[in-house]
């Protein structure tokens, strides 16, 4: 294999169905965009009013040439200066009216458009927060980001601008044609015939353009993902001096995007060519025909003047059709991308008729629990292959096993970050799937090994699971986690940390994450290797303090070290997704070879080992 760092397919989201061939059984653009209806509905009346205003403005603009016609045929040919003033007055009035109508259109559609965008953005965010962790494992957040920012922006502009103009300009062209007809039916027919190539080309344009548009938006999302990784992985890139290497990959993706964008530009240039060429040729032919007709006395000079003035007014609507169409197809792609996420079915949902744990005792029972990722290859064993474990109220149990034996997965199942694929987990005798997620997660609090802090004060971060707690509870939790260092921060517990605040060391973050779990005062505490980043002294202090909490709280602790195991009443040994032994630390140490292998420290390395079993 040639080493292509970060190779593989470039079309994310990786698990998603392959992007469909646009020509194959693809719903029409109108139907695809119509799915916006639920969000657009509140804005529709004003959008319609806006369209009416715009249309009025367009009609007013078309009336100006009519005034010119009567002036040219009347006052000007008669040499009557008195006819000029009323005509100019009328033109002025119509001109003011047109401007007023444009202002009105803007006023109508301005606010609703932004509201639709805001509502969609919030719903998208809420949906993403609701979707299970397995969804987020699959979708790079760059792809989500490009949807929530660029795609929704595009949809808003189309709703408050594109669709209105598309409709209004089309109607304007039709009305203009009628006026042309009334000026001279011969010339109007000429106009109509000449416009045929435009319609044909416009139709073909859709097919050509939308495929490219889709590719461009996906590639932009990929690029965003690479940007994100380069920023989040900055330490690794720096440590290995791979900035240039990352740049190469980034450049390659940017080049691909450029190629697509150029293809898009060529498609747009194509439609531009027609949109400019056709009216110009039409004008020339009309000039020829118009003069002939005038000579034959079929049309008046005034009508000829009005004809060209009208056709000039129509020019912009005709030319605008090009970019309005491409905008519409871009929007269609954006809508598709939006619904790709919104249509995602949430597999971890609240029950229809939720039960409730009236008086939580904290008994956690695993009954023949199985778990496998839905995309795991058939024939592969379940990651968790029948876990049976009964944790009594107040008991602390340590999960011990090799890397990859399934310890972290067990912890993730307890709060339904993932759902079991077989068997069940009971909290105080109730299947956790019968509880609402809200309730379940208020009974069980977790501390993750990679401690995530949010952009908020230390206080808000620690009291995340228990926002109503008072300062005493905060102090207590910080004390247990040995996180007293926060009082020395510039603003104490009100110091902002996380993305937008002070950055803390791994050990400090881990202690805050532990404090957070403790402060939630749950009936079950789930700690995933909570002390890994602490030095020996601090670890000993935390353990000592933690014992008080654990005395009365049910706890599941993933442990790698004997010192952490010592916190537990019992130890469950995990091997290949099964609990192979349960007992106290000393029992297992005395009677279980694998346990000794997993937990024996380096001190014992000199001893011959019978098992060097691979994981």
């Amino acid at each position: 294999m040639s080493p292509r760092p970060h190779s593989t397919d470039r079309h994310k989201p990786r698990d998603r169905r392959k992007p469909r061939d646009p020509r194959q059984s693809r719903p029409s653009t109108a139907r695809a965009i119509a799915r916006l209806y639920p969000w657009a509905r509140p804005a529709l009346p004003r959008i319609v009013l806006g369209a009416v205003a715009a249309l009025t403005g367009a009609v007013v603009a078309l009336l100006i040439p009519q005034v010119l016609r009567s002036l040219v045929d009347g006052g000007l040919s008669d040499g009557d200066p008195a006819a000029i003033w009323p005509a100019v007055g009328l033109v002025t009035a119509l001109g003011v009216l047109e401007a007023g109508m444009v202002a009105l259109r803007r006023w109508f559609v301005l606010v609703p458009g932004t509201r639709v965008e805001a509502a969609m953005r919030q719903d998208f965010y809420a949906k993403l927060q609701d979707l299970p962790v397995s969804f987020h494992d699959r979708w790079p957040s760059g792809q989500l980001l490009s949807r929530v920012v660029s795609d929704l922006n595009l949809i808003r502009r189309w709703l408050s601008f594109g669709v209105v103009l598309l409709v209004v300009n089309t109607v304007t062209i039709l009305i203009g044609m009628l006026l042309l007809w009334q000026l001279s039916w011969q010339l109007a027919v000429l106009f109509l015939i000449c416009s045929v190539p435009l319609w044909v080309y416009g139709y073909r344009f859709e097919n050509k353009y939308s495929a490219v548009a889709r590719r461009s938006q996906d590639q932009a999302g990929d690029l965003a993902t690479t940007v994100e990784e380069s920023v989040h992985g900055i330490r690794v890139l720096k440590a290995f001096g791979r900035g240039h290497h990352a740049l190469e990959r980034f450049s390659q993706q940017a080049e691909e995007l450029r190629t697509t964008e150029m293809e898009k530009a060529r498609a747009i240039a194509g439609i531009w060519l027609w949109l400019l060429l056709v009216p110009d040729v039409t004008f020339a032919l009309s000039l020829f025909g118009g003069v002939l007709l005038a000579v034959a006395g079929e049309v008046s000079v005034g009508a000829l003047v009005a004809f060209f003035a009208t056709a000039t007014v129509l020019r912009w609507p005709v030319e605008s059709i090009g970019f309005l169409l491409s905008m519409t197809f871009d929007t269609r792609t954006a809508v598709d991308r939006f619904f790709e996420v919104m249509d995602e079915r949430n597999t971890i949902v609240d029950p229809v008729a939720p039960s409730t744990v009236a008086r939580p005792q904290g008994r956690l029972t695993f009954e023949d629990v199985h778990f496998r990722y839905h995309d795991a290859p058939a024939g592969q064993r379940d990651l968790l292959d029948g876990i049976d474990l009964d944790i009594r109220p107040g008991e602390t149990i340590a999960l011990v096993g090799l890397t990859g034996s399934g310890k972290s997965t067990v912890t993730a199942l307890t709060t339904r970050l993932y759902d079991v694929t077989g068997g069940r987990i009971l909290l105080d005798g109730i299947d956790i799937r019968d509880l609402t997620r809200e309730e379940l997660r208020s009974h069980i609090a977790m501390a993750f090994e990679d401690a995530t802090l949010f952009s908020a004060s230390v206080r808000d971060n620690v009291l995340l699971g228990n926002p109503d707690a008072d300062d005493d509870a905060l102090r207590e939790a910080l004390e247990i986690a040995q996180a007293g260092f926060v009082y020395e921060l510039p603003e104490g517990v009100d110091t902002m940390v996380g993305e937008e605040g002070l950055s803390l060391s791994g050990g400090q973050r881990q202690r805050l994450a532990l404090a957070r779990a403790v402060a939630a005062k749950p009936s079950v505490l789930v700690l995933d290797d909570p002390l890994s980043a602490l030095d020996v002294d601090t670890e000993a202090l935390v353990e000592q303090a933690l014992r008080q909490v654990l005395a009365s709280t049910t706890a599941v602790i993933v442990a790698h070290r004997p010192s952490t195991v010592m916190l537990a009443d019992r130890v469950a040994l995990l091997e290949h997704g099964r609990v192979t032994a349960v007992g106290t630390h000393s029992e297992l140490l005395a009677g279980n070879d694998h346990y000794r292998f997993v937990l024996s420290s380096l001190e014992h390395e000199t001893r011959p080992e019978r098992e060097e079993a691979p994981a």
């Binding site: 301005l110 900055i234 330490r235 000039l287 995530t452 980043a533 292998f597």
Partner: protein, 601 residues
Amino acid sequence: MSVIGVEGEDREHLSKEERRHLRRRSFALLRSLLHPVRGTVALTAAVVVISSAAQVAGPALIAYGIDAGLPALLRNDWLPLGLAVGAYIATGVLGAVLIAWYTVLTARVSQAILIDLRRRIFLHTQKLSLEFHENYTSGRIIARQTSDLDAIKELLNSGLNQLVQGGLYMLFVGVAMFIVDWVSGLVLLASIVPLAVLTRWFQLKSERLFRRTRVASARLIVQFVETMTGIRAVKAFRKERRNDDEFAEQVEEYRSANAKVIGAFGTYEPGLILIGNLALAAVLLIGGFRVVDGSLAIGVLLAALLYTRNFYAPAEDMAMFYNSYQSASAALEKISGVLEELPGVPDPADPEPLGHPAGHLEFDSVTFAYTPARVVLPQFSLDIPAGQTIALVGTTGAGKSTLAKLISRFYDPSEGAVRLDGVDLRRLKPDDLRRAIVMVTQEAYLFSGSVADNIALGKPGASMEEITDAAKAVGAHDFIVALPDGYDTDVNKRGGRVSSGQRQLLSFARAFLADPAVLILDEATASLDIPSERLVQRGLQTLLADRTAIIIAHRLSTVAIADRVLVMEHGRIVEDGAPDDLIAGDGRFARLHSAWRDSLV
């Protein structure tokens, strides 16, 4: 307040001086972006000039057709009409073809500029110090490279098009108007005054508003990215609803900022139309009287009217340009700010070559402080001979990681020098430095791509065999082959599924493959289980045999393979010696070591 670099980018109100500085900075950036493509830009300009001129001929030809062609035809002379129609078609075809060409040319220019800018920001942010990244936050850096670039793309794609095409068109129409009928030309010229006033008003108003939308959108992006990357904690602690509220607030702030911008535009656009229509009425008024008294042909009046209408038609596009220009210039301002930031650890101007590094490290009277008031490492000197394995021990916050970051040149010392084989690190080419010194930290970040790709990051171009050898050496091979696609398994697909211990093994393999003269391990084994750690330790013994190593670990098991132990406290090295000697003594290390031994049982 200063506006150098990214300072003050969140402020809505800026002094005149500051605004001027920002504008100058943005323009300098723009100029440097245009420079490489100036050839294409010149060609594009030529094309657009000719095409606009061609387009402008239309109304004059119509006038000629009516005023000269019509009477001539009555005399059975087809020539003038034929000329008018032929010229019309010729100019029309020429104009259309040139505009299509122009569209492709501008796309080429704008894409070239965009890719240049993208690469510049990307490379520059990679160069900026960790300190900058930590303060500026990843969300904002991402916003600079995504939504801000979108704004510039918008400007280049359509906005600039509209400006150049529209502006030239207006110019040519104006000129044509003077040629056809100078009196009407004066009317048109007079109407430019209110146009300029209106445009200036819009410019001033929207500049501030646009800055506000950029700030609002950056906040929104930060919140969004933070939620998505921390989704597990969000769910586990039921932060969803509170997040919804916070996000709703940010969305509303962005919405209202955006609405204000569109609102300002909503005054500007109708204003333009009004001015245009009034000009039209004025041309009609003055021209009408002149037609009546016979000093003006009807065809010419028609041409003047068409020109007036045409003159204002692109004005709307120009306003659209202003729209995208404002939003892009706000974005450019921020981007140029990031680019203005100097890397905290600059590359040397004339680097010293580094042949085969032996790995001799030397701290010569080094002090490190974030600010003069916050001294992290008071002055110290330290000599680490090539090939020595050092265990760096001490409580959290004692300064161990800072020391490590000085060696890997994530930071430069405030005073004194750190040398590798006698060469100041600041005099080394970044590539040489990174080849010689590699640091593995606790957070083992995986990039999207396969497992093999992630290991190969240590040595681009490594063969599959080298990759598997590295994985075997650190004991990662077994779990990798157990993955669904072995070394080709996509880590993103398995995103949360490679456990943190496994991630650390992968980052070890990465370091192993990099094969540096100096290896720094900062808590790199914290998440490993004991058997894995044991395997790694065993691998380390061979790995470290002929290189310098600095190992920071809370678990003192490392000491077994160290030649020398340094104990740090409050930024100072308080003990220094061979492990056995220190354990035998009664210092801090002896105490730490016995505490650690106790923790093992």
